[in-house]
């Protein structure tokens, strides 16, 4: 198992290198002259030259990349142009809030998806099957920003059942109950797409597992149906988990829109503000942190998969 894990971690290294290259490229494709934009129209020729040198922009591109990567590894992702602070700590602070929201949404998506999928797989008949197909199709198709706004209008703005934004109530107590209250609407908005996907996946894996030969053998041994389904579910779980993990990773993308709609003080909101300020280092740091989290999530999922299915543990 340890060997298996180490191998997986080893495999993640080239991926991370690739990620860094892609992000580096997005830095370099910025149109216009970064020096000019930093200095503004009044910069002298001498200042230009010094800044170019300072920024290392006179070196060949591979050298620039290596230097940049060295900085990144040391946690230096450049400075925020708008905030005049180091981009990474700034982004990291926001990312923690994003993580809170994402974990909550992931729980909603996984639990809801499993419930819906199992229901669809074990209830016979066209109505149940059609219903679950429709529900998952709808939820898969629903853009996070649309869902978020609809939820705000119908469950928050008019009714006041839930807060329409923010993460904590500034006046009231800031306990867990308050946080949970703020989490529901954004959590559901972010969860809907992965929920639908997971539901479909669970349904088809459950159907596969239920049609496996060992299920008939279990029935022939007098194992009651609910236990048989539990066996089937156990067998469906590893593949469900893989997809679910991937979806949790994608949540990190969709959650941006949710954060904007609900003013959730996370990475998405930071990125959104940085877009209008053209604060590229922050955007890049945000994307890098998300990609890192994504890779880590995939690693965890891989490890869990190995834990759950002894056959793939090599």
């Amino acid at each position: 198992m340890i060997r298996f894990l180490l191998r997986r971690i080893g495999l993640a290294v080239p991926t991370l290198l690739g990620v860094s290259i892609v992000i580096f490229v997005t830095i370099r494709i910025v149109p216009g002259d970064p020096v000019a934009s930093l200095l503004g129209p009044t910069g002298s020729a001498e200042a230009r030259e010094r800044l170019t040198k300072d920024l290392g922009l006179d070196a060949p591109i591979p050298v620039q990349y290596v230097k940049w990567l060295g900085n990144v590894v040391q946690g230096d992702l450049g400075r925020s142009i708008a905030k005049q602070t180091d981009a990474l700590p700034y982004v990291w602070e926001a990312f923690r809030n994003t993580l809170t929201l994402s974990i909550f949404a992931a729980l909603v998506a996984i639990l809801g998806g499993i419930a819906l999928g199992v229901l669809a797989a074990t209830r016979r008949g066209r109505v149940a099957s059609g219903f679950s197909t429709a529900v998952s199709l709808f939820s898969i198709s629903a853009p996070q920003y649309s869902v978020g706004l609809i939820l705000i209008v119908y469950l928050s703005a008019g009714r006041g059942w839930f807060p329409s934004g923010g993460m904590r109530n500034p006046t009231g107590d800031s306990g867990f109950g308050d946080l949970l209250n703020h989490l529901w609407l954004p959590g559901i908005s972010a969860a809907l797409v992965p929920l639908g996907i997971i539901a479909r996946m669970v349904r088809s894996s459950m159907l596969d597992a239920l049609s496996a030969d060992f299920v008939e053998s279990l029935r022939a041994r007098g194992i009651p149906e609910w236990k048989v389904r539990w066996h089937a579910f156990h067998n469906a779980l590893p593949s469900v988990l893989t997809i679910a993990g991937l979806q949790v990773g994608y949540l990190l993308g969709g959650v941006i829109f949710v954060e904007i709609v609900f003013s959730w003080p996370g990475l998405g909101l930071v990125v959104f503000q940085s877009i209008s300020q053209r604060d590229l280092p922050v955007i890049q740091a945000g994307v890098l942190v998300s990609a890192l989290a994504f890779v880590v999530i995939n690693l965890i999922v891989d490890a869990l998969h190995g834990l759950m299915d002894p056959r793939i543990r090599r």
Partner: protein
């Protein structure tokens, strides 16, 4: 135990035939133990599948008695309904299957048993060894856990510790050299033969009265096959279970079978003591079946195809189902179906030719 009902219903097939030699088709035939009640009595079993407007009559009136300590073999080509017969006994089909007739376990009709009681019968009183040992085990559970699950389910042991001890004992009983290791193994870590032994251990764990083995050796190597068959015979001698062994391997039938029923298109067309049926077959289909083996005794071959195709279960021709492929068929065979009649001591066959012989 109510004996009247099965006796009468089982007579129907035989007595409807004008040439039936004995008023009770059963008692005079195939019962070495004479008056002893069979453990399992299948009477006029029909199994029909309905899916999407298609109706498939997979089993069309099977009568069969299983006696303790005896191996009854169902032999026949692929698609003849052997597995369906075996699984119908355990009611292992969903809502798309309907049964008629009777399956009596020591006088209790299983077909009309409430689902809950049927659950207690499966695995405990009637156990099954399926064809493919790999597919029979939950790939994600350790062998030990799967054994313990069954033991606990049917409450044959008082507690978990006892279940574990019993499981190890069972693994030892089925000839597994290292029970402790196998107990902790996942199915994929075992060889095919070991897996089948484990499956057999699960099947016999609750001392079943009836053991149904659906081609238990088909998926195994020839050498392993022989070992498993030996094990099987040994266990049955110990447990005194009544066994229904499904196979399409004539060699297996000959080696371990006490009695043989030859199935064709959902029916038993010939029945009798294994040695007799396989050495002096009476039904043209049995003969064709045996002829289709390349060199009997030298190579234990699979059934080679007989001229023509067996009828698809959905579209069985009028008259005798074998009529279209039978070299001896005559006019009557195309219009009237043949029923099982007694053709000599302890033997039955369903063929118009034999009817004439018997009545002559």
């Amino acid at each position: 135990m109510e004996t009247a009902t099965p006796a009468t219903s089982s007579v129907v097939a035989a007595s409807s035939s004008p040439a039936a030699a004995s008023p009770d088709g059963r008692d005079g035939t195939g019962q070495p133990t004479g008056a002893v009640q069979p453990t399992l009595r299948i009477s006029d079993l029909h199994t029909v599948f309905r899916s999407r407007g298609l109706t498939v009559a997979a089993v069309r009136g099977v009568d069969l008695d299983l006696h303790p300590g005896e191996i009854t073999v169902l032999l026949g080509e692929s698609g003849s309904g052997k597995s369906v017969t075996a699984k119908s006994v355990m009611r292992l089909y969903g809502a798309n299957a309907s049964f008629s007739g009777a399956v009596e376990l020591e006088g209790r009709d299983l077909l009309s048993l409430p689902p809950k009681e049927m659950l207690a019968v499966r695995g405990a009183e009637i156990a099954m060894v399926p064809q493919d040992p790999t597919a029979a085990l939950d790939p994600l559970r350790r062998i030990g856990a799967q054994l313990v699950e069954v033991l606990r389910q049917h409450k044959v042991v008082p507690n978990k510790a006892a279940a574990q001890a019993r499981a190890l004992e069972l693994l030892d009983q089925v000839g597994i050299p290292d029970p402790k290791r196998v107990y902790r193994s996942f199915p994929h870590e075992l060889s095919g033969g070991m897996r089948q032994r484990a499956v057999i251990a699960i099947a016999v764990s609750c001392d079943p009265k009836v053991l149904i083995a659906d081609e238990p050796t088909t998926a195994l190597d020839v050498t392993v096959q022989a070992q498993i068959l030996d094990l099987f015979q040994r266990l049955i001698a110990e447990l005194h279970s009544a066994v229904l062994l499904v196979t399409h391997d004539v060699g297996v039938a000959e080696e371990v079978g006490d009695r043989v029923g030859v199935m064709y298109a959902g029916r038993i067309v010939e029945f009798g003591p294994a040695a007799e049926v396989l050495n002096t077959p009476r039904h043209p289909y049995t003969r064709a079946l045996l002829d289709s083996i390349p060199t009997p005794g030298v190579e234990r071959g699979r059934l080679r195809s007989i001229v023509g195709q067996p009828p698809v279960s959905g579209e069985i021709p009028a008259g005798c189902a074998f009529g279209l492929r039978c070299p001896h068929a005559f006019a009557r065979c195309r219009s009237v179906d043949a029923t099982l009649i007694s053709v000599g001591e302890r033997r039955q066959a369903a063929c118009h030719l034999l009817e004439e012989e018997v009545s002559a």
